[in-house]
Amino acid sequence: MVGRRWWTPWLWLAPSLALLGVFLVYPVVDTLRRSFLDRRSQSFVGFDNYKFIIDNPQPLVSDTHSALLNNVMWLTLFTAVTVSLGLILAVLAGRVRYEAVAKSAIFIPMAISFVAASVIWRFMYEYNVHIGTVNAVVTELGGHPTAWLQNTGAPQTPFTDLGPSTAPQPIQVNNFALILSGVWIWTGFAMVVLSAGLKGISNEVLEAARVDGANEWQIFWRIIVPILSPTIVVVATTLVIQALKKFDLVWVMTGGRFKTDVVATLFYKEAFVIGDFGVGAALAVVLLLWVLPIMLISIRRFQFQEETR
């Protein structure tokens, strides 16, 4: 390549590197630093902020244990349900002629902002049966209306009197309600990605299995799922990262109250409502640590892709 100096590539990279350095790299280091300082980032306090998170001394104002547990719930339940639903929908939609329309309908929620989605679901979950769709349906079917977003009881209580009325935190009605709205938004994403992966499975393999006498169920579990597993992993990791970073949805629907706080909303509360930058930074670091394993998986996947490139 004529005329290219050794520094040319770096010149081209410069704007990106500068922006990333200022907005991503420096802040990570700075936040790490602040997590060891006091609330106004003036004096060194060692691990006090992390102790705060572990000890949870002020559960009424900022319940760190609740936030951490809720994050675990989001990580597991949200991801599992979304991936499963997405997979089922991808398989089903692939078998009808109006596949594109079906996929669009499920996919629309991805286009709207989380804030608008929160408004939609606040409206759906409204306690007043004349306004809230869910409660209207429940009362039609003979149940009692429930304050879906405020109820911290066990998940089965709106529907039946069986079982305990309170379950251990975070297994509560309002968490499920919030996760449901998250599922509503993200299933479209899972479905689209898995559908693309599904198209990559050659028809001959499926036909051969059918000829051999396998029924649809077996085909699903023994052939489709194993072949799709890399794609499933990709979808799952994206969803896990989304679950960890979930701010808008929870903040606008409940503001983190009624024990629905997640680490992301608690971070905002601590840093900007209560004004404690130290604990806020510590919470952000916790988020980062949680996300780190995913980062490593992604990096390894990229390296694999690089080698095969």
Binding site: S113, I131, Y268, G280, A284, V291, I294, Q303
Partner: protein, 314 residues
């Protein structure tokens, strides 16, 4: 020889009853499939439908009867909610703020990322792969890690002069320029990843012949790479556009001036002060959804492409 057309003969000779049972069998076999898909589609659309319908209803109607009752009173619609939210609550200004924030953030990220992507794809330099890997690793850094330091940085860098016409400061907090730069930076890892992959997949001979002809990097970039990469750029543009349009957290923290608030921020404030006045909330929410929905329907293919590549974006 008789084997050649037994099936056709059989079908031709089959009595109508047999064809009927076959039809029924087909329905029985495919029925549940179609039913479940249609049911899911309806179920998925219900929440959005509820919002849309309610935004056109009178406030007292919203409070007293479910939105599904609209079927009984078909033409009892009003655009009053939209009018009031656009004028009184400042949603019109917020709409333009959203536009002012989103468009430059999208174009800037494409430009900056394309530069870097080209270097990664077609230039050789030491540690190329390592730097690329690190850049992409930044994809998973949660926004929360960056916000306090960036906020402090902006407060210190605030230039208090007003920008004419657009409003807001020249730089720092409450500044459009500030938020453009921030969104560009946040969107870079994904953009670089996407574009680099696409650039790298362009045929090598194109570049070889261009270099042989003595073309400089800049020429190749603008004359060959960019035009050929329109699909990827379109996908990236849509993805970034929607991401910035729907963002709440960055605007919440870096944009303090209420007259600069994008729609997400406005709706957030409306929810906390108008909690149960759904006529305001539903219409405001729908206004903010309108443009993304239009984009979605018009450019679904690109959006999906962006999303497929975005399977790695955090």
């Amino acid at each position: 020889m008789a084997k050649r057309n037994p099936s056709t003969a059989a079908v031709a000779a089959a009595p109508r009853a047999l064809r009927l049972t076959e039809g029924l069998k087909w329905i029985a076999a495919r029925g549940p499939l179609h039913l479940s898909i249609l049911a899911l589609m309806v179920l998925w659309s219900v929440p959005t439908l509820a919002l849309l319908v309610s935004s056109f209803r009178d406030p007292s109607a919203i409070a007293s009867s479910g939105w599904w009752n609209v079927i009984k009173e078909p033409f009892d619609f009003t655009v009053q909610n939209y009018r009031s939210v656009l004028e009184k609550q400042g949603m019109a200004r917020a709409f333009f703020n959203s536009l002012i924030i989103t468009v430059p953030s999208t174009t800037l990220v494409i430009l900056v990322a394309a530069w870097a992507a080209y270097a990664f794809a077609w230039m050789r330099f030491p540690a190329r792969n390592l730097v690329f890997l690190l850049m992409v690793a930044l994809l998973v850094v949660p926004l929360q890690m960056t916000l306090i330091p960036v906020l402090r940085l902006y407060s210190n860098l605030t230039v208090n002069a007003e920008v004419p016409i657009l409003g807001g400061r020249i730089f720092g907090t409450s500044s459009f320029v500030g938020i453009w730069v921030a969104h560009t930076a946040y969107g870079l890892p994904f953009a670089v990843y996407l574009l680099r992959n696409f650039f790298g997949s362009l045929p090598r001979d194109l570049f070889e012949s261009a270099y042989l002809d003595g073309a400089s990097d800049l020429r190749v970039f603008f004359r060959i790479v960019l035009p050929l990469s329109m699909p990827a750029i379109a996908a990236l543009a849509i993805f970034q556009f929607l991401w910035v349009w729907n963002d709440l957290l960055v605007a919440l923290i870096l944009l303090g001036d209420p007259s600069l608030a994008p729609m997400t921020l406005k709706i957030n404030n409306l929810v906390s002060s108008f909690g149960t006045n759904y006529q305001v909330l539903t219409s405001a929410a729908f206004i903010s959804m309108a443009l993304p929905l239009v984009i979605f329907f018009a450019l679904q293919r690109y959006f999906v492409q962006g999303l497929l590549a975005g399977a790695v974006k955090g």
